[in-house]
């Protein structure tokens, strides 16, 4: 029977905690920490003073009418950029995902050699395109594009669209390829062609996971749209950066609060929708059976509202689109052509390559440290935030705590979840700005910012995996106390998922490390911007390609470690 299962199911490769610890120590050594702002008592007192001014400003944000009006306009612009960016990303990413999907493009039936070469060629070309789109962080795309399209919301839409296409295309094609072939064997055996099998079996089977991921991306896009303005993409980010460079803390506070309101709302809404998309029919809190007879109508409703949303976003950005069209029409291609081409012809001298390699260490080190710290912080807070262990332990432990204990547990749950919501709701660049007040700009606030942000993101998925456990599995460990059930019953079951999520976050964090380089962390992002500023387009191209190579390397590493993608 072993031949019937061509790809034996293996767990992920093992890599011990020692490896991670050693890498973390190496990362710490590789970064130049800027802690002189805190050196000695005076430095610390001064930093504390700065923070107090800041916190003071936070308790008294600028709530004057013009500022509020400005913030609400910018909030709408940010949301429009995000929605339109995701829509563009989907339009660009979906066809590329089809091309990068092995079960659609190559399939398993035999084919003559030239055909197979063609198939594999298409597959690899699409995958590489996705790597390029995804490897360059949206901030870098925005910097490149803004020189052509100008300081404009559309620059933000394009930058977010491109990087969303890269991420979405990759994850989508992986989700399709991860569908167990046994589940659609019946369709294939009835004589369906490869594309029929794909459209009638593979895609519907992965649909829930796809939708869930799409929602998560939309949420990320809202966060990214709110900071893309820092480099010319419009929206709240531009305002935040202006107020920060100008040192108007009370206005920074207003913008940050608006930002937080937007991201937190999106976060909560997406949570609600994602709950309805749960795949597991035995989930403890699954909402009642789906009424098949009304599904068609519901689809029309959902599709209609999504289309209406995109249309509204497009309508609100029409002036910006007209402006960009005018900009592009004016542009002198004698400048634009070498500028664009220059970014694809890297300087390949050994000195440039060596420098790119050296500077690649910074984002990797930032990514690693921030992921380790963020994952640890998130893991610590899972227990108090888990619905299963705080609100419903009676369902598998049989305990019956008094009301005040229940209330306390409920409060702990709300508090930890709220904390994580703020951590992930404030975008990384905004965290850097907040932390730079205390530490001054440099590596330290950047690492902490990425760590806090990933703690927030990971806390949600970590908690979700625990709460998604079937209570029946926890019952068997009954008879012990709650904490023990969590430690020995729940943790071992969710551990592999946590590791997958953490590695995925690592990949995201390395990209963030690159993006923050532009703002002040150094490394690849910084060198890219410096070369652009010094008009060394070949040099800038070297660093741009280094970002892409880095992303591909991490991607292949995660495949080699067999850390499969999110199962949502």
């Amino acid at each position: 029977m072993t031949e019937a299962c061509p790809t034996p199911l293996r767990g992920p490769r093992r890599f011990g905690p020692w490896w991670i610890a050693a890498l973390a120590v190496a990362s710490m050594a590789a970064l130049s920490w800027n802690l002189e702002a805190l050196s000695g008592w005076n430095g610390f007192a001064a930093a504390w003073d700065r923070l107090r001014t800041y916190v003071g400003a936070f308790t008294a944000p600028d709530l004057s009418w013009p500022m509020l009006a400005l913030c609400s306009t910018l909030t709408l612009e940010t949301l429009s950029v995000a929605v339109l960016g995701v829509a563009c990303g989907l339009m660009l990413g979906y066809p590329l995902a089809l091309g990068a999907c092995r079960c659609l493009v190559v399939g398993e039936e035999p084919a003559p050699r030239p055909v197979r070469w063609l198939q594999v060629g298409v597959l690899e070309a699409c995958r590489f395109t996705l790597d390029v789109l995804r490897g360059v962080p949206d901030i870098a795309w925005a910097i490149v594009l803004a020189n052509l399209t100008g300081v404009n919301a559309i620059t933000g839409v394009l930058a977010i669209g491109i990087s969303t296409a890269g991420i979405f295309g990759k994850v989508l094609s992986e989700q399709w390829d991860n569908v167990d072939p046994a589940r659609y064997a019946a369709v294939r055996s009835s004589g369906a062609t490869r594309s029929q099998t794909f459209f009638y079996a593979v895609q519907p089977l992965a649909a829930r996971a796809t939708l869930s991921f799409l929602l998560m991306r939309t949420e990320c896009a809202v966060r990214n749209a709110s900071v893309i303005g820092v480099v010319g993409g419009g929206g709240l980010g531009a305002q935040l950066w202006d107020e920060y460079t100008d040192g108007s803390w009370s206005r920074v506070a207003t913008v940050l609060l608006a930002l937080l309101a937007v991201t937190a709302t999106t976060d909560l809404v997406s949570n609600l929708v994602r709950q309805r998309l749960r795949v597991d029919p035995n989930h403890p809190r699954r909402q009642g059976a789906i009424d098949r007879s009304r599904q068609g109508w519901r689809r029309v409703q959902v599709l209609g509202s999504v289309l209406a949303l995109v249309a509204a976003a497009a309508w609100s950005l029409t002036p910006a689109m007209v402006a960009v069209a005018a900009e592009l029409q004016r542009i002198d291609w004698e400048f634009a052509a070498p500028y664009t081409l220059g970014l694809f012809t890297p300087d390949l001298s050994p000195a440039a390559l060596g420098s790119a390699l050296r500077h690649a260490v910074v984002p990797v080190a930032i990514g690693l440290l921030a992921t380790v710290a963020g994952a640890a912080l998130a893991a610590l807070l899972v227990y108090p935030a888990s619905v299963a262990f705080q609100l419903e332990p009676h369902r598998f432990l049989g305990e019956n705590p008094p009301t005040h204990t229940r209330i306390l547990r409920g409060l702990a749950l709300v508090a930890t979840r709220g904390l994580a919501l703020v951590w992930r709701g404030v975008p990384e660049v905004a965290w850097v700005i907040v932390l730079a007040v205390f530490f001054r700009m440099g590596v330290t606030p950047c690492v902490l910012a990425v760590a806090l942000h990933s703690a927030g993101v990971l806390h949600r998925v970590f908690t979700e995996t625990v709460d998604n456990l079937d209570y029946r599995r926890l019952e068997r460990t009954g008879g012990t106390c709650r904490a023990q059930v969590f430690m020995y019953g729940a943790l071992p079951r969710v551990w592999p998922d946590w590791r997958t999520y953490a590695f995925f976050q690592f990949e995201v964090n390395v990209r963030l490390g690159i993006a923050l380089g532009v703002v002040g962390a150094g490394g690849l992002g910084h060198m890219f911007k410096m070369n652009l500023d010094w008009r060394q387009h070949g040099g800038a191209a070297t660093y741009l390609w280094a970002m892409i190579v880095l992303t591909i390397a991490i991607d292949r590493l995660s495949r080699w470690l067999q850390l499969t993608r999110l199962r949502c």
Binding site: N34, S39, R50, D242, M441, G442, R535
Partner: protein, 303 residues
């Protein structure tokens, strides 16, 4: 139907494009300009709106301000025909002259730009305690550098970054290594950020555009007194591109150089641009010294 409409549109565009290029010699229907974002953007936008109105009156064509998000974008906008003239800093002026391949030229500059300076400022507490005092040459700070933190402006800013870096290096102080800890620089524009950092005591010493300091509030100036004034150099300029036609460029130059301090409207612009008396014509060759300073710094100088 749609296809034929598109075809007609494409044909019209094709017809319209060459006629656009031909009409370049004639007076343009609209002029556009940008400025480098070197301080508070809200104020910048306000100043540029006032300038647009005034120039529109003087030149008789609509004049539009196009925002740039960073210094390089302003240079690229000029080269890429997104704007016709731009207010650039010393380094960016040289960048534009080089990238313009003879087409870009200096139109006018402020009187203060021919003898521009950078101020080194220190936190008042340190000066009061006698730990730092006014010096005549930067070399006097050499022995002290390791005990103090230092910050300056955007790496593209001539007065905020390149010149202080140049003068420090000349005096034997390595801007990256000699100071206490890593040297900080404001990631964006930010002469204001430098002033605030030093005035609040977050950083001990800073270097910034002298004209920004002179215009700052008395309170900030008192909290961050000047301890060193650099020798003069050339800095900001209005740079234009020849594609709008030499005549138009001459008209723009004239509009700037004829701004009169005694006229209220003109004075508003001269004040907003911190000119002492007037804008004046200047030879692009004057910026050769800045080119030398720029070229002495490779793109990796901050690492």
């Amino acid at each position: 139907m749609l296809r034929s409409t598109l075809f007609v549109a494409a044909a019209l565009t094709a017809l319209a494009l060459p006629s656009c290029t031909e009409s370049k010699a004639e007076a343009p229907k609209e002029l556009r300009f940008t400025v480098i974002p070197d301080f508070n953007k809200a104020k910048l936008v306000e100043n540029c709106a006032t300038l647009s109105q005034l120039l529109q009156k003087k030149l008789g064509v609509p004049v539009t301000y196009v925002p740039s998000n960073d210094y390089t974008m302003a240079v690229n906008a000029l080269i890429a025909n997104k704007v016709d003239f731009a207010w650039l800093g010393g380094k960016t002026t040289v960048d534009a002259l080089d990238a313009g391949k003879g087409e870009a030229m200096v139109l006018a500059t402020r009187d203060i730009d021919l003898d521009f300076k950078t101020y080194f400022i220190a936190n008042k507490k340190l000066v009061d305690e006698g730990k730092l005092k006014k010096v005549d040459k930067l070399a006097d700070l050499k022995g002290l550098a390791k005990d103090f933190t230092f910050t300056f402006g955007d790496k593209n800013s001539t007065s905020g970054h390149l010149m202080p870096r140049f003068f420090l290096t000349e005096a034997g102080i390595d801007p990256n290594k000699s100071w206490k800890g890593e040297c900080g620089y404001q990631a964006s524009g930010g002469h204001g950020a430098t002033l605030k950092a030093v005035a609040s005591g977050a950083t001990d010493i800073g270097a910034l555009n002298f004209s920004y300091w002179e215009k700052a509030s008395a309170e900030d100036k008192a909290a961050a007194p000047v301890i060193f004034v650099t020798p003069g150099y050339v800095d900001y300029a209005w740079v234009g591109h020849a594609r709008v036609g030499k005549e138009t460029l001459a008209k723009i130059t004239e509009a700037f150089t004829k701004l009169d301090k005694n006229n209220a409207d003109d004075k508003a612009i001269l004040d907003a641009w911190s000119a002492k008396e007037k804008f004046q014509v200047a030879d692009g060759k004057l910026w050769d010294s800045i080119r030398k300073v720029r070229d002495s710094l490779p793109p990796g100088f901050l690492q």
